[in-house]
Symmetry: C2
Subunit: 613 residues, 2 copies
């Protein structure tokens, strides 16, 4: 009888070229579940251990051999019948983009196949001199030369390694962007699934780790198979009956949000100069479905299937056999750059997947460059012919490959919007928090997401605490997006619950249909622990606080829990929230109080309460 | 009193990191002039010296440290009043594209400035482990680190190094294509001047030599300044009066040839499937001038000024402040790929200059891939979304950057058409000779150029013996392009004279107006040698034969003096030469006889006659 875990973690040191298997620490698992939570705890231990060796947290170089990279699954990953448990979480001590903690999450099949290969997680220390990849099969692992793979795009890398393995496997890899240390390079698996944010692909690149291949025939066992069957059935039914997970996401994918968020006056346009675009429907999920959809695609074990297999059959942006784009991608590469051309967005998204770039940071950085150019900070001669005018589809697409290869002006884009705007003397034009570009929801029209952006540990991030569900979609209940009331409470709860989901590891989209109670029941059957809702939420809070401690060690505090000046001082010029800014001080003190933090730092008391060492 | 030479050659060993100055050998100069001739002689000596060390010619790896790269000027280079003497010649023992000798030529200001820096030539041995550049100023030279330049495009490299030097200078450099060892990477100076052919940029890349910067205030002195003044005046007058050099080239640039060659039924279309295109005028020099020309551009000391400063003001291929494209480029990237879009061609040409790619081989290789795709040898899945259909402008432009970065399908294009067609099982579809892609003149309609392609030492090359001047333009007299009569004689003479011009070093375009007699007069004044026409032509023949000896050492012989099967067996389907193929055996035996060659090899007797050691 099992508990959902494989019981083994693979520990790799690329400097020493050693590989060993250690036991999954069930005490840590009990307190941090798996995935993100387990990884945060392991990273915290590294931080403490480095301090003992005299390496201060602020001395940790994101591209140094002291950075530690973790691929982690959770007790639910790869468990048949646990709906949408096909994901894995990637974390690293330090992100090149934010200088904070690196954290990202991806779907597909890699997570389950890592467990089928026999491991709950991979911890990667050190860095290699020469390109390597990691081959993990049925409980064993080997570091192999990737000299012949270096320079390859993600599609070729996946195809070549899959052919070489010759049996069912999954490959997580970087493209040229990761190799070239683009600060927002991502990790790609299954060709179009991305651990996108905070530059985890660049960290792999700095370690000269081109890819990880996983395969195997092991399976996680669970504690209460019969009870689980019933809970699983109930959960699947809820997902099926829910209008978002049962209808909208399967039918339109995440792009259904384009019109919804635009109508809420919250769809940032032209680098957040406004948040309503009367032409938004041209790049909506409805048009995507009508014109470009080939078929639905689902991650391993997912009953929702929000993925889109798409194609552009003709024209300058012709691209056959691709996937996506997601809502945030359409926004970043399209609405935010004023490129109202879905074909161009699909092509640019394809390039991002092929070359290994985070679509949100890519689009947001292009949009930032466009505003810098529009306002005269970037001169025409700086661009060497790349016409970064708002609304230029060809330049937007060209900017993507230029970034991956740091070609021409791409060398600036490759640094992300924060450094780009600093270099061109207009730092306020970077629409980022803690260096991470914010995604597709303007908090001037959705106040709660603003508090979340400001306080999210990894920076400008929506999935850290997706209050949009409550504030716009009305799930599980509708609250007023423009009100500040109780937003602190909702943000905290949402953030803590997201920690649970990312540590389970499961897809956040299930939370449209499933609450903490469902998670407690499902996880109890898998682990045999009889988890209560309170305990589960306490685990989430513990993870969030421990992650915050790491940030604090790097020097982040309340001064960093803020938003770009534009959101605080420039009223929205149009849309339903016209005239609004974000009054952060109407939410942040309450949030800190609820969190038990002072100046953005957990108090001793809070840490004790959460049983954090 | 001087002789046109600076008297010094810079010898650099990148393996040992040594730099020394040796004297220009005036005995060699007397027999081989300078530029190409001098370089061929030096390379031949290396070959002999390697053989003594036990390194067979066929063991020489184009990317090995045994390859030797030479930048050479001639007695005319940088001499004021010697019309169009702003060029330099690049040669190397072995080309990655052809495995024969590498040879290329470029204009701009680099040649003169190399002499003003105090040197007639640079000989580069060995290879560096780390990226370096060479800084040559006023008789001194230094190898400097180029770590911060590696990855940069040619424009940035030139701008950065020029700023660093802070005085008038010229930079010859490679872009990403050269760094990535694309087999037809070129060397770029003055942003849009290219030593384009036979992959000399890849050789620089293999040596980790990013750039050479030259500057200085020295000047070549000449033997008979007063007499030279008079000869110079006469030569300039002839250039001015000549319809090609005085009218067409200045007004329309080389692109004037698009309609002329198309009307001659000799403009290859769709990878040479035909040679007449009724839409050719859409990409002609006349349209270029009308729609895209900003102003004329001239190389150092040139009275012709065939260069084009151009721009595409709007649309998907918008590009401000660029130059070109030349006739051969328009053909290769446009007519040959059936892309009838001058804006797309201008953009692709800009990418080639920026990234460091030979436009002829680039376009010809794309066209080859398009035919391989059209005929089903390349499958859609091989292309990963790059729609290489004939006539697709966006795919043509995308193929260019993909080649430079070996991105996706670009990794195949980067090998050139010969290897591409071999890999995809249709070797006959590579329209190349000795591995070098043929340029824009179909020999089925211009027989002499066919014999020249077949016998040109560097492979499928027009400038080795540009009989088009006689056969189509009627300069200095008109001969029938479809006749085989006397073509052997004209080809031999044209090839020998081109050797003289490339060793002078001067621009071949002067030969529309100036003959061997003019060259003999001008060079006599410069060198003080009283050169006769006969002696000059003998020098040309000597150079051609010595170059051929090197080819023979690599195993090239009469079996390689041929043309692609298509030209020998597929009659032209349309145009004025409809029904024609090339009957090489009506010219080749006579050519060999005139050359004194047997089986494509100079006889002992011939070598003795030419005083070749």
């Amino acid at each position: 009888m099992g508990n959902g875990y494989m019981g083994k973690i693979l520990k790799v040191n690329l400097s020493d070229e050693t590989v060993k298997s250690i036991s999954t620490d069930m005490e840590i698992a009990r307190k941090y579940l798996g995935g993100k939570g387990y990884a945060v705890r392991v990273l915290y231990d590294y931080l403490k251990s480095y301090e003992k060796q005299g390496i201060a947290p602020t001395d940790i170089n994101p591209f140094g051999e002291e950075n530690v990279l973790i691929f982690a699954t959770g007790p639910a990953t790869g468990v048949s019948g646990f709906p949408a448990s096909g994901r894995y979480h990637v974390m690293a001590l330090r992100s090149p983009l934010t200088n904070g903690i690196a954290s990202s999450n991806s779907g597909g099949r890699f997570g389950p196949l890592l467990k089928f290969a026999g491991f709950d997680a991979i911890i990667i220390e050190g860095k290699s001199d020469e390109p390597v990849y990691l081959e993990i099969t049925d409980g064993t692992a080997e570091i192999k030369s990737a000299k012949d793979l270096w320079g390859m795009n993600t599609f070729d890398t996946i195809r070549l390694l899959s052919n070489r393995i010759g049996k069912e496997c999954s490959v997580a890899c970087i493209g040229p962007a990761g190799e070239n240390l683009v600060y927002f390079a991502c990790i790609i698996n299954e060709e179009h699934r991305a651990a996108g944010r905070t530059g985890v692909g660049a960290i792999m690149g700095s370690k000269k780790l081109k890819a990880i291949v996983v395969s195997g025939n092991r399976r996680p066992e669970i504690a209460k198979p019969e009870e689980f069957k019933e809970e699983s059935r109930k959960a699947l039914e809820k997902i099926k009956q829910n209008p978002v997970t049962g209808e909208n996401l399967p039918k339109y994918g995440t792009a259904i949000l384009v019109n919804i968020i635009n109508n809420a006056g919250a769809l940032p346009f032209k680098n957040w100069q406004s948040a309503y675009n009367e032409r938004a429907n041209e790049i909506s999920g409805e048009i995507l479905t009508e014109k470009y959809l080939r078929k639905r695609v689902a991650c391993w074990g997912c009953p929702i299937g929000c993925g889109r297999a798409t194609e552009v059959k003709e024209g300058a942006f012709k691209i056959l056999s691709t996937e996506g784009p997601e809502y945030e991608t359409i926004w970043a590469l399209g609405n935010n750059t004023a490129v109202m051309d879905l074909a161009a967005i699909i092509k640019a998204n394809h390039f991002c997947d092929e070359l290994g770039l985070d679509t949100i940071s890519m689009g947001a950085t292009i949009a930032c460059a466009m505003e810098l150019y529009e306002k005269g900070y970037i001169k025409e001669e700086d661009l060497q012919g790349l016409d970064l005018s708002f609304g230029n589809p060809a330049a937007m697409v060209e900017a993507v490959w230029r970034t991956a290869y740091k070609s021409g002006f791409g060398k600036y884009l490759a640094l992300g919007s924060k450094r780009l705007a600093e270099i061109f003397n207009a730092p306020d034009l970077s629409m980022s928090v803690k260096g991470l570009e914010m995604p597709a929801y303007d908090p001037r029209a959705i106040k709660g997401i603003g508090l979340n952006y400001a306080t999210a540990n990894r920076g400008g991030c929506h999935v850290t605490g997706y209050t949009v569900s409550l504030e716009v979609l009305g799930i599980p209940k509708k609250i007023d997006p423009l009100s500040y009331e109780d937003k602190a409470k909702y943000v905290k709860e949402t953030q803590d619950f997201a920690c649970v989901v990312n540590s389970t590891v499961n897809c956040l989209f299930t939370t449209f249909a499933l609450g903490a109670k469902d998670y407690a029941s499902l996880l109890s059957c898998v682990t045999g622990w009889n988890l209560t809702v309170e305990e589960l939420m306490r685990i989430g809070e513990r993870i969030y606080n421990l992650e915050r401690l790491i940030l604090n060690a790097y020097g982040f505090d309340s001064k960093d829990d803020t938003l770009p000046k534009r959101l605080l001082t420039e009223p929205l010029p149009d849309g339903v929230a016209k005239g609004h800014v974000v009054e952060l001080d109407k939410m942040l003190p309450e949030y800190y109080k609820l969190r038990g933090w002072i100046n953005g730092k957990p108090t001793e008391e809070k840490l004790k309460e959460l049983d954090i060492p």
